[in-house]
Symmetry: C2
Subunit: 209 residues, 2 copies
């Protein structure tokens, strides 16, 4: 009698566990699909300007991932009018920080990536200035790739400030056809990385103003 | 005897199922962490210009997610100098497609988002043109949010083409202080969405040119 009751309880337990397992496995299989959107949208929402970094070195593979992301951005008529200068020399970082006030956090960064326009690759004539939009899209990808990898970064403007372009070009020995758009100091964040909520539905119009 | 054997088999089955369930649940819990970086980097790598769309309507929540992503982008001194016109009126989409050759795929798109600069919010003086970089970063976020959600989109340029700016402003009835930067047709992709591999290590320099 006891044995039969035990059998019944065990059989019931097996059935329940089997059902639970099936559900759990289905959830596991479904997850990549379900979280794909959420994860990428989260990274976009979590990205924020990080201006303080700790001393941890940034892995070479992570730096390459930043540059890969940057080059994956769209460019006008696929012109790819960009170049990137990775600055990890302490003296150069200090020179940038000392001479370009807006980029002074470069002094404490592990590295900075200078996103440039390459005028030998930019469209000709009236399309030339699309390099600004192309290099900006590349910069945004770079910032998101930093966030995705647990790094902190900040976009500090150079172009179109003529003085800043001149100073930056001198420090990096840039040729005439290479225009620095911005300097992005990078490192592991020290302190708060809470993003701002900038959502503002009043900025949205439908079909006409 | 049979009953005892059955009991033993059942007990064993319960134990195995319990272990499997624990493993499955752990995998489910661990997944988001492990894929965070990979997923966001994947979305960046997978984004490509999608110019053909099928007839499926695009969900309102997905359109809002596109706009949220756009507004999450960084802007110079947090000026947020942007505005967005969501065009889903068939006649307006046709007018865009007919008059702006570069945006002709808008005719078949479910909607188009026109990313604009708001000169009443842009920085003053020499910083004014940062709106171009800011609106470009917003556009890139919007494109990535489309990819993340299984949508297809393409950045079609308006500014700085004076003619295109004029035509687009007329169609959307934009006031003087609103400058359309680009038009992004959006829909569910029809056909191939294989991204280009644009990686080119020759574009990377270290510390100086």
């Amino acid at each position: 009698m006891t044995s039969k009751l035990l059998n019944l309880v065990l059989a019931l337990a097996v059935v329940i566990l089997a059902i639970e397992l099936t559900i759990a496995k289905k959830e596991t299989a479904a997850q990549p699909q379900a979280t794909d959107a959420a994860t990428a949208l989260d990274v976009i929402a979590q990205r924020t300007s990080v201006r303080a970094y700790d001393d941890r070195p940034v892995e070479t593979e992570k730096v390459e991932a930043l540059l890969r992301a940057a080059m994956a951005a769209p460019t006008a008529r696929d012109s790819r009018p960009w170049a990137f200068v990775v600055v990890n020399d302490r003296a150069k970082l200090k020179a940038i920080a000392d001479t370009l006030r807006g980029s002074r956090m470069a002094a404490k960064a592990q590295l900075a990536i200078v996103v440039c326009g390459d005028m030998s690759k930019a469209l000709e004539g009236s399309g030339r200035d699309f390099w600004i939009q192309d290099a900006s899209a590349a910069t945004e990808n770079l910032l998101l790739a930093a966030t995705a990898q647990g790094l902190g970064a900040v976009w500090t403007g150079v172009y179109p400030g003529a003085d800043r372009v001149k100073v930056c070009s001198e420090i990096l020995n840039l040729p005439q056809h290479i225009i620095p758009l911005c300097i992005v100091p990078v490192g592991y964040p020290a302190g708060d990385v809470t993003p701002k909520d900038k959502w503002d539905s009043s900025r949205i119009h439908y079909n006409h103003w």
